[in-house]
């Protein structure tokens, strides 16, 4: 469904991606693991159209979206839940969700509003604070909001950048439950995670990104969990 080939991107003065090939299959959860600075966030930002790659291509459902603007990417049915949530702090929860449905408001406002109500049903946490400013929400609530906001674009593929970042374990589990549920509803998911254990429990396929290159590509079973973590975070065995 999503194909990334030979992607090279600079982030500021850093060449963050040095030729990355990954793919996400339809209806599955694909996970990209890797230490900080490996280029995971850059990868997602490039796919989502926030950064322009220097080389390589991004194809989504057979269409080339390499140079597309982020608005066009959203239009194609691809949404990114950014790192650190990036909710609109001075807008209410409801307004954040409306902003998520921005591209649909002009065409079919009624449907978008109905979706909004459904979204609030699905995330009771948000429903409880629907008129509160997003900036006052806790980290977990903000993460839920960011996911819900991305879902409001009606994506067929969801990119998630470290959804567990800075969240307490209980909340992390909740987030992952939602990821699983979304996937069961048919949304393809490309997940970038640091919390390897949680990620591997949901992922169907994973990539290991290290210093801007893919270091490993396989099914979760292909490597022992410990080995994965060891390689990803604590250095190669014995290093």
């Amino acid at each position: 469904m999503l194909e990334v080939q030979g992607l090279v991107t600079n982030y500021g003065m850093i060449e963050a991606l040095k030729g990355v090939d990954i793919s996400a299959a339809e209806g599955r959860i694909t996970c990209v693991l890797g230490p900080n600075g490996a280029g995971k966030t850059t990868l997602l930002m490039t796919i989502a159209g926030l950064l322009r790659p220097r080389r390589g291509s991004v194809t989504f459902e057979g269409r080339d979206i390499t140079a597309a603007s982020s608005a066009a990417v959203v239009h194609q049915g691809l949404a990114l839940v950014p790192e650190n949530r990036l909710v609109f702090p001075d807008m209410t929860v409801r307004e954040n969700l409306v902003a998520g449905a921005y591209t649909r408001l002009a065409r079919n406002r009624g449907e978008a509003m109905a979706d909004l109500d459904r979204m609030l049903e699905r995330f009771p946490v948000l429903n409880a604070r629907v008129n509160a400013n997003a900036g006052t929400l806790s980290g977990g609530e903000q993460q839920m909001l960011a996911v819900a906001r991305a879902l409001m674009t009606k994506p067929r593929c969801l990119l998630m950048d470290e959804p567990s970042l800075g969240l307490a374990p209980l909340i992390v589990a909740e987030v992952f439950n939602i990821i699983r549920e979304l996937n069961e509803d048919g949304v393809t998911i490309l997940l970038v995670e640091q919390n390897a254990h949680m990620a591997l429990t949901v992922a169907h396929h994973f990539f290991l990104l290290d210093q801007g290159l893919v270091a490993f590509d396989g099914d979760p079973g292909a490597m022992a969990e410990d080995e994965v973590i060891q390689r990803a975070y604590l250095g190669s065995a014995g290093g």
Partner: protein, 248 residues
């Protein structure tokens, strides 16, 4: 040499650093690791006086430098690099070092001589640093035109130009390839040979495990473990921090 006493920093309701105490000894390479968002960079910024602390104290060589202005921290003998490289892009490589030599010479010659000092002053030392950083032939290039790896090296050289006693390296290996990481490790060890104390904040474990003497692990702003690299690698609390809890 450097002591943090119950250091805390709260941003609104978020406890970025929470009651952190640790001691870095003279001549040691000390590693500070932890998952993303665990408060490592905030700790560095607190030591360097970038933000005011919420509570606690920073003591360097017996001198309380809590909340001292950044340039005073440098004058006290602490140099640093940044996670996301902050060079003076419109200055040349050589000028980047030159600027940083400012504070050393203030100590040595007073401000007037320092400001009016010609280009020659400090050139030898800068030349040495450039050689050390492998940038000797790039001295007149604008910093922004350097390759990424060169920029990292220049930033380290710039920190050294102020002749610090303690060097804070904030993720110096981020974005480097294996070969560059190897060179970095060599360089860090060489610095220690020269008597430099180093506080290394890093994610690249090959580097941390390879060069440090002791490591402290942060999670949610708190220290969850401290010890030699081997101890840390097998510490269950550390695993949990990186893993997340398996069955929540």
């Amino acid at each position: 040499m450097l002591e943090l006493h119950s250091l805390s920093k709260h941003f609104g309701g978020v406890r970025a650093v929470d009651d952190l105490s640790l001691t870095v000894n003279q001549g040691e390479i000390f590693g500070l690791i932890g998952p993303n968002g665990s408060g490592k960079s905030t700790t560095v910024n607190l030591i360097c006086g970038v933000f005011p602390t919420t509570s606690g104290a920073v003591v360097f060589e017996g001198q309380d430098i809590t909340d001292a202005a950044s340039h005073r921290v440098v004058a006290a003998g602490i140099g640093r690099t940044f996670q996301n490289i902050r060079l003076f892009g419109d200055l040349t490589v050589w000028q980047n070092l030159w600027v940083a030599q400012n504070s050393v010479e203030e100590r040595e010659t007073g401000w007037f001589a320092r400001w009016l000092g010609g280009q020659r002053r400090g050139r030898d030392y800068a030349g040495e640093l450039l050689k050390f950083a492998g940038l000797a032939d790039r001295a007149n290039e604008l910093a922004r035109n350097l390759a990424f790896g060169e920029q990292r090296r220049l930033e380290m050289a710039r920190a050294l130009a102020a002749r610090p006693k303690l060097l804070l390296l904030d993720e110096p290996a981020a974005g480097m390839n294996a070969e560059e990481v190897g060179q970095l490790a060599t360089r860090i060890r060489a610095l220690r040979e020269h008597g430099m104390t180093i506080l290394l904040v890093e994610h690249v474990m090959e580097l941390v495990m390879g060069v440090t003497d002791r490591i402290a692990v942060l999670n949610f702003g708190q220290k969850i473990a401290e010890g030699a690299p081997a101890e840390i690698q097998s510490d269950p609390a550390v695993r949990t921090a990186y893993l997340g809890t398996a069955d929540a």
